[in-house]
Symmetry: C2
Subunit: 197 residues, 2 copies
DNA sequence: TTGACATGTTATCAGTCGATTACTTATCGT
DNA sequence: ACGATAAGTAATCGACTGATAACATGTCAA
């Protein structure tokens, strides 16, 4: 008997599967540059099913985007919840940095996030972007850092996101100015980008 | 006599006009989210003319993108060329910061830049993004700052670009976490965003 | 004046898009 | 076994997209 046929899935499971596929698809093409059909093919279901499951492409993107940023926010929150955090401790600062570095394994989330952040032309998306960015800021703020230090931490993260979005780590070459910036920005975390072991 | 009719323009002038219109259009919708017809309407010409002038929509976007980043790079270069630059001077560091805040008046350039930086899914665009980012890094590096300080300067700029793309400055509200980040990130430069006088 | 070239436009096309409708089939309680 | 409900697909639509071809008109040198 062929397992490819006939077996069904609960709507919830299928929904998760489609969201995961949509995350990969939107990471590549962004909101406007990704068709619902591309998402459907990535998920192995029909295009109308994707649309009916989420209502519209916009609602699907918003779901994917909010989950992506939510995952990043939660990674920071986990650091704060796991152990006491000393805002003056360099070790604890490093813990937050490492939490971000771990996220580099899942570049799709970061790229979806950047697409959402850049999509100021779609009011619903930019509204979600503002809300999500606010949540991330509030979460990192829980470190006890002041506004300025929190801002600088997030700024550094934005640079890394941009570098990943332009695939800087896949085009390292000696003497290239961008390579200098890439190695300087990622440091040891560069390994995280090459071998997602 | 009606000036709207009959008067023609040199192709070069018209080209500049279309590029300016395309900058506004792409700033709103990005590459995939902006049709050549939208650009044509913004420029007041026909859609086929826009296509024929640049060959393809991709070539038009690349031209617009490279000009946008070029303008930013040149703003930094101008600071370095105008007067001697002391890498250890806080005043000179402020000069570079101010050069960037001046760019906040033309948010279209910054948004086009962010769209290009995020468009990793289009190889030609991400290749241009890497090259342009490398040029910006090399230019800022001319301050005499080391890699790390240059990196932090650019990271801060990326944060501001992201905040602008999500229109944070147009949605300031008391008690909002994002508002805290916005005021903290832009500081006095916030005025630059409201009244482009 | 004229004719050649540059500056544009109108008409049109094949492909793609998001969405709707109608239909099919698996699953499960009774 | 069976009927109701949930899970999914095939077919199709009108709108839009980027691009091409054919055509029209302003401009300028001779």
């Amino acid at each position: 008997m062929n397992a490819a046929k006939a077996t069904r899935m609960s709507a919830d499971d299928r929904r998760e599967l489609v969201i995961a596929a949509a995350t990969r698809a939107f990471a590549r093409g962004g909101y406007a540059g990704t068709s619902t059909d591309a998402v459907a093919r990535e998920a192995g279901v029909s295009q109308p099913y994707v649309v009916r499951m989420f209502g519209t492409k916009l609602e699907l993107f918003l779901e994917v985007f909010e989950r992506a940023v939510g995952r990043i926010r939660d990674a920071f929150a986990a650091v704060l919840d796991d152990d006491p955090f000393d805002p003056a401790s360099d070790d604890d600062r490093a813990r937050m940095g490492i939490a971000y570095t771990e996220l580099l394994r899942d570049q799709d989330f970061l790229q979806v996030m950047m697409h959402g952040f850049s999509a100021g032309g779609v009011p619903e998306i930019s509204a979600a972007a503002r809300r999500c960015m606010g949540e991330v800021f509030a979460t990192v703020r829980r470190t006890g850092w002041d506004d300025e230090e929190t801002r600088d931490f997030i700024a550094y993260g934005m640079l890394l996101n941009v570098m990943i979005s332009m695939r800087a780590h896949e085009h390292l070459g000696e003497g290239d100015p961008l390579t200098a910036l890439t190695t300087c920005a990622f440091g040891d975390a560069l390994e995280m980008l090459e071998s997602p072991a």
